[in-house]
């Protein structure tokens, strides 16, 4: 079989010629004039349709940032909502250009799917939520419980691993749509519901009595969430990675969407380089030199995006925690733009 496959691949390579895919997505995106992003079907704060039917959330903001970097216009994007079971196939097949869908970066995903993670826009961990009336304070008391979980996720795997490692038993109820899973949990079909802690906090706000539910303290796993792109296109990879970095750097240097026009005239050489007032940072990536300026002006820096979607001024009320800037004790550490 290996020899046959090698012969077939050799023959087809001779037939079709050497196909270098460097820049394929980047060129295609530039040609069609907009970025196609894969987003969540409906997770408040990360990717959900608002009352006008437009998608918003910190993942959608990242999509807008990529559009602003490439085209100078953050409205040049289209969203494709994908479920956990479709998301990787949608990216692999070319249906979307980038997957901004709070996807955990893992080794298997980076190496066997033909995809790559470009960076982390939210550091999370997996947790479990139960009803307060059960009087449980620790996940170790959940032996023989029934847990609602979504299929095809690291959540499902971590759940099995954690229970196995602690010698406890559980029964999964695997439901495709997060709304149905929540309804089953609320209706009592499951004793507990598990997903990333940010997801638990946000869906809890949609329940009729949010205070009747408690998120248990255990961290089942690390969940570094970030965007993913296809392998084989380094230019596109760079653009997506540095778009996120621009938002982090801007927050570190205090550049916001409100003061960015004054900041352009700043004397600080770092700020000048970020905003394109000096240097040719955009040229190496094949985009406009004002790429970061466009991102910050039209989308905002990381802190603004966080606050507006999931921070204290939003209904989710998530604290920065691990996602604070490194100077504030968090893990967000932008790479220097120079």
């Amino acid at each position: 079989m290996k020899l046959q496959k090698a012969l077939v691949i050799g023959a087809s390579v001779l037939c079709f010629g050497a196909t270098a895919h460097a820049g394929e997505t980047f060129d295609a995106v530039k040609k069609k004039g907009f970025v196609q992003c894969g987003v969540h079907t409906g997770l408040p704060g990360f990717g959900i349709a608002n009352s006008k039917g437009e998608w918003e959330g910190i993942d959608v903001d990242l999509c807008k940032a990529v559009a602003a970097a490439v085209f100078g216009d953050s409205t040049k994007y289209k969203t494709t909502p994908v479920t956990t079971q479709q998301r990787f196939t949608a990216l692999q097949s070319g249906e979307v250009d980038v997957l901004t869908r709070n996807t955990t970066a893992t080794l298997t995903r980076d190496t066997t799917l033909g995809l790559m993670s470009t960076g982390i826009n939210y550091y999370d961990s997996q947790g479990i939520m139960v009803k307060k009336e059960l009087g449980i304070t620790s996940a170790k008391e959940l032996d023989t419980a029934t847990v609602c979980v979504q299929p095809g996720t690291t959540t499902e795997l971590n759940l099995a691993d954690w229970f196995r490692a602690n010698g406890l038993k559980f029964t999964p109820v695997v439901i495709n749509s997060p709304d149905e899973a929540m309804r089953s949990y609320e209706g009592g079909r499951c004793d507990a519901f598990t997903t990333d802690k940010s997801g638990l906090a946000t869906v809890r706000t949609t329940l009729p009595n949010p205070d009747d539910h408690v998120i248990l303290p255990e961290d089942f796993s690390k969940e570094p969430l970030g965007p993913m792109v296809r392998q084989g296109d380094d230019e596109w990879f760079m653009v997506v990675r540095w778009a996120l970095n621009a938002m982090l750097e801007a927050e570190e240097y205090g550049i916001t969407s409100q003061n960015v026009d004054e900041m352009v005239k700043s004397d600080n050489p770092n700020i000048q380089r970020i905003l394109g007032a000096s240097g040719e940072m955009g040229k190496g990536m094949g985009i406009d030199n004002k790429w970061a300026y466009n991102i910050i002006k039209q989308v905002g820096n990381y802190g603004e995006s966080f606050e507006r979607n999931i921070g204290m001024s939003s209904p989710m009320k998530l604290e920065r925690g691990l996602n604070a800037q490194w100077k504030d004790g968090g893990l967000m550490y932008g790479w220097p733009i120079r």
């Binding site: 066997t112 033909g114 032996d143 023989t144 419980a145 029934t146 196995r164 439901i175 079909r189």
Partner: protein, 395 residues
């Protein structure tokens, strides 16, 4: 003047020339087969090439890797430490379980309703008509959601479970019943198997005897006696021990006993009710296809309506019923793939999770296609054999 027609001798050697129709036919077939083969080769090699360039792994080696995810219910033992291959096998068993039970129940219910629709009783036929029209026209997915919602939301939690009979619990975790443990199960199942084989042999012998001598054999009562007595004998032979495992509420759930989960029940209810409406119409059309003369002849022989139906009409109606019935069985089997919407771990749900975790979408879809093709072809082959057996041999 008589003319003698001379018989033209058949050509003894095939001429390899363009004028010979046989040669032309052969050439066309070679060309078509070559084209089809080329298209298949091109598609496969192109796909493999694209997958390799994109760095997506190919091959079925992933079936030997550890699965890592748990499956809600399984007829055989399965833990997250087992391989993907075993997980796929569990999914297939779940699909077969719901399909086979669904086919049997849908046939029974559908036949009853089909016959009810032909009843002379206005109320009975009216209710049957309403049932058929309503159940046929509501999409199956909605019916599944409906049954699932009813079962999970109207049933109490495990701590307030209903206990209609000692040891039987009904809650939103499912219907739990006490089960027999130990060797007794194997002996009883063995006895049941032997009883079924004996019943088939006796039925065959009784049919032969009736054809030869006209004597009717009380097959019904004898079959029931055999089906009850032989498993009982098996149980006696195994030591007559009653090792019953009663479900007991431990922590969050019941431990012990066997359970019918709400997902399985909702899927079964939805599939059976939906498909039985179609089967009712198939049965009704089969019965109505039998000529009116047969009814009158049976009446003239003094057969009451029920026996006329069973002995005269239904055997003839079966010929019209079997082919569309095969389609309905195949529909039921394929519709069971909607299980993923309500959380029942059938093969589509398990392979979907697998292809998501491993990234190998093409291999996963091929596995699902192969599974459904195998199951569907088996059902078709069996039904076609049965159809041939009962077909009227016309001279």
């Amino acid at each position: 003047m008589t003319r003698k027609t001379e018989s033209v001798p058949a050509p003894t050697r095939r001429r390899l020339s363009w004028n010979d129709p046989a040669t032309r036919a052969l050439l066309y077939q070679v060309i078509v087969v070559g084209l089809v083969g080329f298209v298949v080769w091109y598609l496969v090699s192109n796909t493999l090439h694209n997958l390799a360039v994109r760095n997506i792994s190919t091959g079925f080696g992933f079936l030997g890797r550890e699965a890592g995810f748990a499956i809600g219910e399984s007829p055989v033992a399965y833990t997250p430490a087992d391989t993907y291959g075993r997980a796929v096998w569990v999914g297939l068993l779940n699909t077969l379980r719901v399909s086979i039970i669904g086919i049997i129940l849908a046939t029974l219910l559908g036949t009853l309703i089909g016959i009810a629709r032909l009843s002379k009783n206005w109320l009975v036929s009216g209710v049957a008509s309403v049932y058929v029209e309503v159940m046929r026209n509501i999409p199956l997915l909605l019916q599944l959601f409906f049954w699932y919602a009813i079962i999970t939301e109207s049933m109490p939690g495990p701590r307030q479970a209903l206990e209609p009979l000692p040891g039987v619990f009904i809650s939103n975790r499912g219907l739990l019943m006490p089960s027999l443990q130990g060797d007794a199960i194997d002996w009883i199942l063995g006895g049941l198997g032997v009883a079924i084989v004996l019943v088939l042999l006796v039925a065959h012998w009784a049919r032969k005897r009736q054809a030869a001598t006209g004597q009717i054999f009380p097959l019904g009562s004898v079959s029931i006696a055999l089906l009850l007595a032989l498993p009982l004998a098996g149980w006696m032979a195994s030591g007559a021990e009653l090792n019953v495992d009663v479900p007991v509420l431990k922590g969050f759930n019941f431990a012990g006993g066997i359970a019918l989960s709400p997902e399985f029940t909702a899927l079964l209810a939805g599939l059976v009710i939906y498909t039985s409406a179609f089967i009712a119409e198939v049965v009704r059309s089969g019965i109505q296809a039998v000529g009116q003369g047969q009814w009158e002849a049976a009446n003239a022989l003094g057969l009451p309506r029920a026996r006329a139906l069973r002995l005269v009409i239904l055997p003839q109606a079966l010929r019209v019923i079997i082919p569309p019935m095969t389609s309905q069985y195949l529909n039921l089997t394929k519709n069971s793939s909607l299980a993923v919407a309500i959380g029942y771990p059938d093969i589509v749900s398990v392979v979907n999770t697998t292809l998501n975790q491993t990234g190998q979408a093409i291999e996963g879809i091929l596995i699902i296609m192969a599974a459904y093709l195998t199951v569907s072809l088996s059902i078709s082959i069996f039904m076609n054999w049965y159809n041939k057996r009962i077909a009227l041999v016309e001279r």
